[in-house]
């Protein structure tokens, strides 16, 4: 028995090492005093310093932030409405439209939105990126909010209604505060997904609307310097912090998918 458990542990440790070693390497080389991601030369923070003087990078970070905040705000409102509607009413088309963008290969959504925007003469840029991000974030928010609603005590809303509250009042004063952790977790998730998205942004972006992932892509394709490692490390820290907050607020929501 012990020998078999040992083998299982060995396989699992290999799997965890496989998952983490690459990320550790990226972070480690961001502090390496060499242009090449090869030998360890010495510790430096100069790549981080260079980052903060890189105009393109700062512009991309600002774009990403703007897109992330707008897209997550709008998709949180729509996603909460969708999650509530699916929980409370019999919706036929909505669940399908919530799940389909998550289920199909991302590239399809990217190219179909590209055709759509060009045909409608909506110029590719910040607006088209934000509209696209909202479209793929709604589903994730809706799923988190719905699972939160499913765990709620229905009788509380009923009690509010029996005591004469209008449906809107009952929602605003009873239901909404109760599902708030789910809503906030959904918003953080949407923000993370938006900040991280590459494929859909790649097809819906235009000149002057480069986001952080697009900037990283360009640097990886053209000239790799440890600046990429530095921005990657910062981005990882940001995502990690947001996800930990989201999972504190709504335990289990991360496993919902």
């Amino acid at each position: 028995m012990n020998r078999r458990l040992g083998a299982l542990w060995a396989a699992a440790i290999f799997a965890y090492a496989f998952l983490y070693a690459p990320l550790v390497i990226v972070v480690a080389y961001s502090f390496n005093d060499s242009r090449l991601n090869a030998e360890w030369v010495g510790f430096t923070l100069s790549w981080y310093g260079k980052l903060f003087h890189n105009e393109k990078m700062l512009q991309a970070a600002w774009n990403s932030l703007l897109i992330g905040i707008t897209a997550s705000a709008v998709s949180t409102v729509f996603g909460t409405m969708a999650g509530y509607a699916m929980y409370r009413f019999r919706m036929r088309l909505l669940p399908l439209l919530i799940l389909a963008p998550i289920a199909i290969p991302e590239i399809l959504m990217g190219v179909s939105l590209l055709i759509f925007f060009v045909l409608l003469n909506i110029s590719l840029g910040m607006i088209s990126i934000i509209l696209s991000h909202i479209a793929f974030c709604i589903g994730f928010v809706a799923i988190v909010v719905r699972s939160r609603l499913a765990g709620m005590d229905e009788s509380l809303t009923e009690a509010a209604r029996d005591l004469g509250a209008t449906p809107w009042k009952a929602f605003r004063l009873v239901t909404l505060p109760l599902i708030m952790p789910g809503v906030v977790a959904g918003a953080l998730m949407a923000f993370t997904l938006s900040i991280d998205d590459f494929v859909i942004t790649f097809f819906t972006a235009g000149v002057g609307s480069t986001t952080l992932p697009l900037q990283i892509y360009t640097m990886v394709k053209i000239a790799v310097t440890p600046e990429v490692n530095a921005i990657s490390t910062l981005l990882m820290m940001l995502t990690l912090a947001l996800i930990l907050i989201a999972s504190k607020l709504s335990p289990g929501s991360l496993r919902a998918e």
Binding site: V26, M109, S112, F116, Y217
Partner: protein, 296 residues
């Protein structure tokens, strides 16, 4: 009256998100379906759908792009190649994920959440960063590759190149999709009743038999779910072959990207996207069907 009010609420609450998803998801997808039957525009892109230069409506459709797809074996081959890459990725993910999921499922309850979280965490770092990490590891100057080649040299073998090969693409695909295999497997294995294994042991089955006759067959729904979750996104990916694959390792996603952004033949790009969608939906359907059958 309450019924009517209920309906009003339903559309007041469900209507706006529904409308948004219709406009920014369903309609674009439908336009792509139509686009696959249109002619390319004179300057790339798409021939105007609603009217031509004179302003008169034009609805002529053509299957020319589909004809081109089916007559040129190059594209079928590309799909087969992408299919093979996705299939290999799925199998490698299964082999790495299974022992891990099993270990988590058999760990004490208080450790499980942490062990699962450790699987998900890397998934939340940016996709490009995870691919870039392999560019460092597999690059010709990397510590890993130099050491490997020195070792190969000891045995008198030629040094190998790893970056910009199909091998690098598969590694990248496995790395990015691994959590999608671990989670459904774990969700399934966690529910197994340990009494079944005890019973099998009492009846004289050794560990090997207990796994292949009890644990594995019971875990099949998890295997199918994980396989679908890995295979479908892996099939359509373009960034991994783009960064790690070089010219040899390109997949169908790269050609779709190329048709839309470089060649600008949108009808043909739409045809390729349609074939990809049909394949993805067919595989998802197949996985669901097999899973349902195996349950009864």
């Amino acid at each position: 009256m309450p019924v009517r009010q209920n309906r009003l609420h339903k559309w007041l609450i469900g209507g706006p998100p529904l409308a948004y998803l219709v406009v920014f998801f369903a309609i674009p997808v439908l336009i792509m379906v139509v686009a696959s039957f249109r002619n390319p525009g004179e300057f790339g892109g798409l021939a105007p759908i609603f009217n031509d230069e004179t302003g008169s409506a034009r609805f002529d459709l053509t299957t020319e792009s589909y004809g081109r797809f089916f007559s040129d074996f190059l594209y079928t081959e590309l799909f087969l190649k992408s299919f093979a890459y996705a299939a290999i990725t799925t199998i490698v993910c299964l082999v790495i994920a299974y022992p891990l999921a099993m270990l988590i499922a058999r760990s004490p309850k208080r450790h499980r959440d942490l062990l699962v979280l450790l699987v998900i965490l890397p998934f939340w770092s940016n996709f490009l960063i995870r691919v870039y990490a392999w560019m460092i590891i597999l690059g010709p100057q990397s510590v890993f590759v130099t050491a490997l080649n020195r070792l190969l040299g000891l045995f008198g073998m030629e040094p190998v190149t790893l970056l910009y090969t199909p091998f690098a693409v598969i590694i990248g695909l496995v790395y990015v999709h691994l959590p999608f295999m671990v989670l459904p497997l774990y969700a399934n294995l966690e529910k197994h009743d340990p009494a079944l294994l005890d019973a099998a042991q009492d009846l004289g089955a050794n560990a090997w038999w207990r796994f292949w006759r009890v644990t594995f067959p019971l875990s099949l729904p998890g295997v199918y779910a994980g396989a679908a979750l890995v295979f479908i996104p892996a099939l359509g990916i373009f960034a991994i072959p783009d960064i790690l694959g070089g010219t040899e390792g390109i997949m169908i996603g790269n050609v779709i990207k190329q048709q839309f952004l470089d060649t600008r033949d949108w009808p043909f790009g739409s045809v390729l996207s349609m074939v990809l969608t049909v394949m993805a939906v067919a595989i998802a359907g197949l996985a669901a069907w097999v899973a349902r059958r195996s349950r009864t």
